[in-house]
């Protein structure tokens, strides 16, 4: 993976210039609001992967996930002036992504995951020399079954499970995103795991 160091000069006070190296998200938001479009490009670069993956977990295919992720960033840009900074920008983007994805899932019946030729299916790659192609295939198939079962969970359970397991958000942050209590989030998570177990058994 290529790691880039970002640096730019901005005017802090008349006559003074400050060089910012690897600006924080808060600094980037401030720069965006001051009209620096490249700051938003950097926000996109930092968060695009997580936003895309979250959308993918809801829609189950690359094409819709990339469209949704793009929509998330456009909406974020539009609403940036309303970003209060109480949560991190990552959490804020997750909130937008959850809303956008749930709206899409409600409007459109999710299609079962298909083989996507554009993707290098990581779960079908030979991960290491220790894993045979047959084992990799089996692991890939298992992952696909789990993803399809997750797609059949009720919306709140699915959202909770995805944010907790794949994005490792604390229960408190998930509660903030869903507008529920921490207890409700944990109960949702419990039911999600139990229901998933039943769905996977049915699928056998």
């Amino acid at each position: 993976m290529v790691t880039r160091t970002w640096q730019w000069t901005q005017t802090a006070e008349p006559g003074y210039k400050v060089t910012v190296t690897n600006p924080t998200d808060a600094e980037l938001v401030e720069s965006c609001l001051a009209g620096r479009r490249e700051a938003f490009d950097l926000i996109v670069e930092r968060h695009r992967r997580h936003v895309y993956q979250l959308c993918y977990r809801f829609v189950g295919n690359h094409e819709d996930a990339s469209d949704l992720a793009q929509d998330v960033f456009v909406r974020a840009f539009r609403a940036l002036k309303n970003f209060k900074g109480r949560a991190s920008i990552g959490t804020w983007l997750y909130r937008i992504a959850v809303n956008v994805s749930l709206n899409r899932v409600t409007a459109k019946t999710p299609r079962p995951e298909s083989l996507d030729v554009l993707l290098l299916a990581s779960d079908e790659r030979v991960a290491s020399e220790a894993e045979s192609p047959a084992e990799a295939l089996l692991r890939g198939e298992r992952a696909r079954r789990v993803r399809n079962a997750i797609a059949r969970l009720p919306k709140k359970q699915r959202t909770t499970l995805v944010l907790r397991v794949y994005h490792e958000l604390p229960h408190e942050e998930i509660a903030g995103i869903l507008g529920s209590s921490v207890g409700a989030v944990k109960a949702n998570f419990f039911h999600a795991l139990n229901n998933l177990r039943k769905l996977l058994r049915e699928d056998l």
Binding site: D41, R48, R78, D123
Partner: protein, 197 residues
């Protein structure tokens, strides 16, 4: 002791169950089994990673977002321009109508006697054919007129007998400067377009 609640099963599976409740697990096999099931499901679910897009996808994605945001900026500016025009044009037309109506009403209002006029002073009252002009530079008079006419529609004014004489509007238009005429034409055209939507 009470069995674990759903949220406590989650805490137990994540290794965060308070010590006070952890004691229950040692004695309750049913709860222990449930915790193991939940923990096993967590492991299975965590292992289900996603297909990874091509490395080329990310740069392409960033370019797409960049273009979409640029388009969004243009759209926002256009929307504001159109919204602004939609708000300001009717206001401007209303202001013009108010000005014209007020201009034509003032002479009548001034002519209308507030109380019976003593005979001795009737000679001083101008005849109906005489138009009493309004000093166009008198800001206070215009403020009073605008305030008085602000809530009054043309139909209402007609019903109250405050009609505009046929020649008044023509004369008002004739008095407009070249720039004012151009602006009036533009406003009327935009109003016509708007009403045709």
């Amino acid at each position: 002791m009470k069995h674990l609640a759903p949220e406590e099963f989650v805490d137990a599976a994540e290794g965060r169950l308070p010590v006070a409740r952890a004691g229950h697990l040692e004695t309750c096999e049913a709860c222990r089994e449930q915790v193991e099931t939940i923990a096993g499901m967590l492991r299975d679910v965590s292992a289900a990673d996603l297909p990874e897009p091509s490395p080329l996808f990310w740069d392409h994605f960033s370019s797409r977002v960049h273009a979409a945001v640029a388009h969004e900026e243009i759209r926002a500016r256009r929307t504001w321009g159109w919204t602004g025009a939609r708000i300001l044009a009717p206001l401007a037309v209303m202001a013009l109508v108010v000005a014209v109506v007020a201009g034509s009403l003032l002479p009548r209002l001034v002519r209308t006697p507030a109380a019976p006029v003593p005979a001795a002073t009737t000679a001083d009252v101008p005849s109906l054919d005489t138009e009493i002009g309004v000093d166009p530079d008198n800001v206070e008079v215009w403020a009073v007129l605008t305030a008085a006419a602000a809530d009054m529609g043309i139909d209402e004014a007609h019903a109250a007998g405050l009609g505009v004489r046929p020649t008044t509007v023509d004369r008002a238009v004739q008095r407009l400067s070249k720039d004012e005429l151009a602006e009036l034409g533009r406003l009327l055209q935009s109003e016509l377009k708007r009403s045709g939507d």
